[in-house]
């Protein structure tokens, strides 16, 4: 009892400080066990997400960038409880949803939705567009039939599709249009928070911009909060307010967009930024130096000791192999996990 009241007090205190925080993630870990041998014993652990903490304020977009295998998609799926976290706490809209049962989580899914990466795999090909967009309403048991139809039409228009698309099936659409359908499906419940798991990485560049603009417009209209996962910084730049860079299940750096793009501190972020192809009209005029990373991403099942990035870091020194750098606030709102910036 006392424990509960204490927790409640702590929560109340927190609430008064961060009224506008929608999502708070505290030390979340997701380990997958690696099974081996005839008896399928656990022989190791794959640390897909390893001790990640952050908050997202209402109306904000947090971009998460990382190579494939960095754990960014896993993080998204843990947040929406498609996967159970190994440790840590997820607080959504002032409710701790970390350990809620599937039945208890259902009403919360109304406020928290997800847009998936592959528009060809994320829509059930046997359902018409109307059925697809209506399904979330049906599952949540929200509206009567007539109101549902109206809502479906309303959302359909919002994402730039038309009424006669309703009776079509996914195979009749292009990738960009399918992603619009996915977005409509996510938005039909009027969520507060949308997790976008690489929503444009399967699309043509010209269509990427259209879909990104649509998402940005919708955010303004509906007051949405986004967690935007991507594997390249240029896509994230367009839509994010803050950007986090992920490497082997940890945050390397997290900062407001402007600061991160102009003054990246972590060597990994610097390398990522320099790899963005640019059109340089003044050739020979202060040409940007490219930082090339050596080697591949190490296996998350067997990460390097100390700083996990040290094996590929051009600025690694002795300490990096021993100590694990903590995520420290170097400037206001600018956090970096690198020994170059920690004292001592």
């Amino acid at each position: 009892m006392t424990m509960l009241t204490k927790q409640q007090e702590a929560l109340d205190e927190k609430r008064s400080i961060d009224e506008d925080v929608l999502v708070e993630v505290r030390n979340v870990k997701k380990y997958f066990s690696i099974k081996g041998g005839i008896l399928q014993k656990t022989v190791g652990q794959l640390k897909a997400v390893d001790d990640v903490s952050f908050t997202i304020r209402k109306g904000e977009t947090l971009g998460i960038v990382g190579e494939s295998g960095s754990g960014k998609s896993t993080l998204g799926r843990v947040l929406i409880r498609l996967l159970d976290s190994t440790a840590g706490q997820i607080i959504f809209n002032q409710t701790d949803i970390t350990n809620l049962r599937q039945r208890q989580i259902r009403p919360i899914r109304e406020d928290m939705q997800m847009v998936f990466q592959d528009p060809f795999a994320s829509l059930n090909s046997k359902m018409s567009i109307e059925q697809l967009i209506e399904e979330p309403l049906l599952v949540q048991g929200k509206l009567a039939k007539a109101a549902r139809k109206e809502k479906v039409l309303e959302v359909l228009e919002k994402v730039g599709l038309r009424k006669d698309d309703l009776q079509k099936y996914p195979h009749e659409f292009s990738g960009g249009q399918r992603q619009r359908i996915s977005i409509a499906r996510a938005l039909v419940l009027n969520p507060k928070f949308v997790i976008c798991d690489e929503p444009v990485s399967a699309l043509d560049v010209s269509i990427q911009a259209q879909v990104l603009n649509l998402m940005k417009d919708l955010q303004g209209d509906l007051g949405l909060t986004y967690l935007f996962i991507a594997h390249d910084l240029s896509v994230v730049k367009h839509i994010s307010d803050r950007v986090a860079v992920m490497y082997l299940g940890r945050f390397a750096e997290i900062a407001p967009k402007k600061q991160l793009y102009e003054k990246a501190l972590h060597p990994y972020t610097q390398a990522l930024l320099s790899s963005i192809p640019t059109i340089d009209l003044n050739v020979g005029n202060a040409k940007k130096e490219k930082i090339k990373l050596e080697g591949d991403l190490p296996s998350p099942a067997n990460p390097p000791s100390g700083c996990t990035f040290r094996t590929r870091c051009p600025k690694a020194h002795d300490r990096c192999a021993v100590d694990r750098p903590e995520l420290l606030e170097i400037e206001k709102d600018h956090f970096v996990a690198c020994h170059l910036y920690s004292e001592g």
């Binding site: 899914r109 998936f116 046997k126 979330p136 960009g176 996915s182 399967a202 043509d204």
Partner: protein
């Protein structure tokens, strides 16, 4: 890198053909099936066979079970188109009524097996983990024992085999193959993004199974069910032929052929065993053609947009 080649402005092109009918994937499969000549031929033959079984009383006046020892092993005549068997029963009438039994057994064993296979395959493929391990070990056990030997043992232990009992025995011994197929399909579906999407909106297990898994697994299920039906007709004939199936005097095609075990009938009365043999051949062949047609119709690789 980019999988999408279509242009977004396809929308404008589509505007011209807004009157076009939108077909669901199932309708598209059906259209593909109807274009398959071999499958349609199989369909026609099967309809004729089913028709003659249904309308058997209109096509013959003889009772297939009525024996007449004064008229045994008669050659074909106007009265008995295909002659009579060793008990003096009319062969033609037995052929028609036999179709009833053989088809009933084929269809009902198929339905029963599919039902069992679907229940266990769904449990196994959807829930995975311990349930999956237990069910799969049971199927291993069934698959390790030769199916016919198992069925024969059960039949030998029972005193009287009725059609209903026969169906149950065959279904119980043959569901593991189908449940493995369904489990495999479900396992591959489980990792698809649209299933994650359904979970993300809070869909119940029931909804995910019936609205998302089964419609996407219906192709392999229907195809295997058809082929299973053909196999079941053969099994019934085979068991009846060696006297372990439906007992006499019930007319089945297998029972009719078993007459030909006698060398005299085999040699002098081909009209007694060739027609039921042909009937089995035609039925099984046409069902298999239909099955192959369905396979092609459901296979996404043959998809034409």
């Amino acid at each position: 890198m980019h999988t999408v080649n279509e242009k977004e402005n396809q929308h404008d092109e589509l505007e011209i053909e807004t009157t076009r009918k939108h077909r669901s994937p199932l309708q598209l499969s059906l259209r593909r099936f109807l274009k398959n000549k071999l499958a349609i031929a199989g369909m026609i033959v099967l309809i004729i066979i089913i028709g003659s079984a249904v309308f058997a009383p209109l096509l013959t006046d003889h009772d297939p079970k009525e024996h007449n020892l004064l008229k045994v092993e008669q050659k074909p005549s106007k009265e008995h188109i295909l002659g009579t068997d060793s008990s003096g029963r009319d062969n033609f009438s037995r052929l028609l009524y036999g179709a009833r039994v053989s088809l009933t057994i084929g269809i009902s064993t198929m339905v029963f097996t599919v039902l069992l296979g679907m229940i266990f395959g769904t449990l196994s493929g959807y829930y995975g983990g311990k349930i999956d391990s237990i069910i799969m070990r049971i199927t291993d056990l069934f698959l390790a024992l030769p199916f016919l030997v198992l069925a024969l043992t059960i039949i030998a232990l029972l005193k009287k085999v009725t059609i209903g009992l026969f169906v149950v025995i065959i279904a119980v011994t043959s569901w593991p193959t189908l449940s493995r197929i369904i489990r495999g399909t479900f396992l591959s579906l489980r990792e698809q993004e649209f299933v994650l999407g359904a979970r993300a909106i809070g869909a119940s297990d029931f909804r995910i199974i019936f609205r998302h898994f089964l419609p996407n697994a219906i192709g392999p299920i229907i195809v295997n069910a058809t082929l299973l039906m053909a196999a079941m007709i053969i099994v019934e004939s085979g068991l009846s032929f060696i006297g372990m199936g439906i007992p006499q005097p019930t007319p089945t095609w297998g029972n009719m052929i078993s007459e030909a075990q006698g060398l005299r009938i085999l040699r002098y009365h081909p009209e007694a065993w060739i027609p039921p043999g042909l009937a089995i051949l035609l039925t099984v062949l046409s069902i298999n053609f239909i099955g192959d047609g369905l396979r092609d119709a459901f296979d996404p690789k043959s998809d034409r947009r």
